[in-house]
């Protein structure tokens, strides 16, 4: 696994641009030898990160961009999604599994990211926006989604 798998994309804040990222992402994950099931789950996790960046971070302002970087570090694929918003505190999102939230129509994106990736981390990116870092081991098939690691980095 080497630098040739890296990519950087900057997309305008439109939901249809998520599909463009997915095409490039899945191609790279396939090249890295990730099995198809895991590719699909990573695809969903990254989709959630992109949707949050477009909807909440950039408030769907098409003038603002979402930056996506893929790197391979040791045996992990690392995907960073950064918006151009004013920051985001993931702890303020209610637990979507709490009985009172079960029938909410939103608030499950971070749950999906945690479930489908090995680790996620929210922080500030180099541009000052919110950056979520998603990590997934490339290698033998893991047990996602039934027994994923719960913790965030």
């Amino acid at each position: 696994m080497a630098d040739e798998h890296r990519f950087h994309l900057a997309i305008g804040s439109r939901f249809e641009n998520i599909e463009l990222v997915q095409v490039v992402l899945k191609d790279r994950l396939r090249q890295l030898g990730m099995d198809e099931d895991t590719q699909d789950w990573v695809d969903v996790a990254v989709r959630e990160a992109l949707a949050n960046a477009i909807k909440h971070g950039n408030a769907q302002n098409p003038e603002k961009q979402v930056h996506v970087d893929l790197d391979v570090e040791d045996d992990e694929v690392v995907i960073r999604v950064e918006d151009e918003g004013v920051g985001f505190d993931p702890d303020r999102v209610g637990d979507p599994l709490a009985p009172e939230n079960l029938l909410r129509t939103n608030g499950r994106g971070i749950l999906f990211m945690k479930k489908f990736m090995d680790r996620i981390h929210y922080g500030s990116g180099p541009g000052g926006g919110t950056m979520v870092t998603l990590r997934k081991r490339v290698g033998p098939k893991t047990d996602t989604p039934h027994h994923p690691e719960e913790g965030t980095q």
Binding site: R14, F15, E16, I18, E19, D40, D43, V44, R47, E48, A51, K55, P96, L97, L102, L103, R104, T105, N106, G107, R108, G109, L111, F112, K115, P145, H146
Partner: protein, 112 residues
């Protein structure tokens, strides 16, 4: 996302296929469900056999359809969940909320 609405006796069947994801299907699902319920349907089965991907927005639309249907006195059931959709409903614990059937016939017959 593609969809098709048909009748099986007094049961309305909504066949869904493709992606139910943000910007790519979730609005169509919302509009179609509103049309079905506005038409006075009281028994609805969503056949999900052709769904290839669903994200949190798509799940949100299913929840919205369920609560809207319940508030109107319409019974909504899901049938033919692909494995990944079933996994996602399990993760979100919504598998305990929705009335889920292995196949369309069982879902239709459950209204009897």
């Amino acid at each position: 996302m593609k969809f098709n609405v048909r009748q099986s006796g007094d049961v309305t069947i909504l066949d869904l296929s493709g992606k139910i994801t943000i910007g790519s299907g979730e609005e169509a699902l919302r509009n179609t469900m509103q049309e079905i319920m506005s038409s006075g349907a009281r028994k609805v089965v969503i056949n999900m056999s052709g769904v290839t991907m669903i994200d949190s927005s798509g799940i949100g639309e299913l929840v919205s359809a369920y609560t809207t249907a319940t508030n109107r006195g319409t019974k909504l059931k899901l049938a033919n969940l692909p494995a990944k959709v079933s996994d996602i409903l399990t993760i979100t614990q919504l598998i305990t909320v929705f009335d889920v059937y292995d196949n369309e016939a069982d879902a239709v017959n459950s209204f009897a």
